[in-house]
Homo-oligomer: 128 residues x 2
Amino acid sequence: MNIGDVAKRTGLPAKTIRYYEEIGLIRPLRDTNGYRVFREADFHKLAFLGRARALGFSIEDCRTLMALYEDEDRASADVKRLAKKHLDQIEEKIAQLQSMQTTLTHLVQECAGDNRPDCPILKDLASG
Amino acid sequence: MNIGDVAKRTGLPAKTIRYYEEIGLIRPLRDTNGYRVFREADFHKLAFLGRARALGFSIEDCRTLMALYEDEDRASADVKRLAKKHLDQIEEKIAQLQSMQTTLTHLVQECAGDNRPDCPILKDLASG
DNA sequence: ATAGGGGTTCCAGTCACGGGAAGGTCAAGG
DNA sequence: CCTTGACCTTCCCGTGACTGGAACCCCTAT
């Protein structure tokens, strides 16, 4: 498989796949013409990475998860701890965003949104 | 006021304040020794920026909001449109995170988290 | 011979700062 | 007068996870 094929099959941009090689997440072979050659195992790794990234795991977390996946002697506790920590961060982020959402929703509701200059949004920003 | 005073009063790091000057959001005066000198108006601008940033507005949005704030002939509709667009993005982000949260919560619940290698989290990542 | 659709590398930019080096300034204490 | 320590200055690099683009090579079909 060339990079274009893997890109189609995984849904990852070719640029991203090259980047993952650059940072050592995958090690595809090379053809005599210099083209990357992806084996089925490379494809599986990329699909794994794509799903982990879609769940919001950082690249470094993905690296750890892949290492755990390939370690037959892993403890599921290590995976769970990583996932739980990530979940906690997601929940914290959601809380932050919801706080912004609450404030902004109120402000937007209160703003007339006409061609007059009077605006509660700016008033709030100006005076806390 | 020197930068340290403004940093304390606004809660913004001095580094951030220097950065805001660099990108033209504020224009403090300079003392003969080269130190930045902040007037009350500069402090107000920084406080405004701090609050806008805390609501998640991008720097460019903040620039626009400040311009609108200083424009006596603004239309509140322009402010409202900007805030609404930002609110929509926040809500989209929240939805994405909640989707991750749902999946991760299930996976974490199902994982035994002991010293055995069997792990539904890795299983999910490996096979979609 | 050429056109096109692959592929390759390398460089720069994103966003909003943060860290740290190297050095100038100022007020207080010995 | 000298030093100490807390300020302040500029400058440059690094962050995360890519994305865009330039310049160039490779392969197949016409």
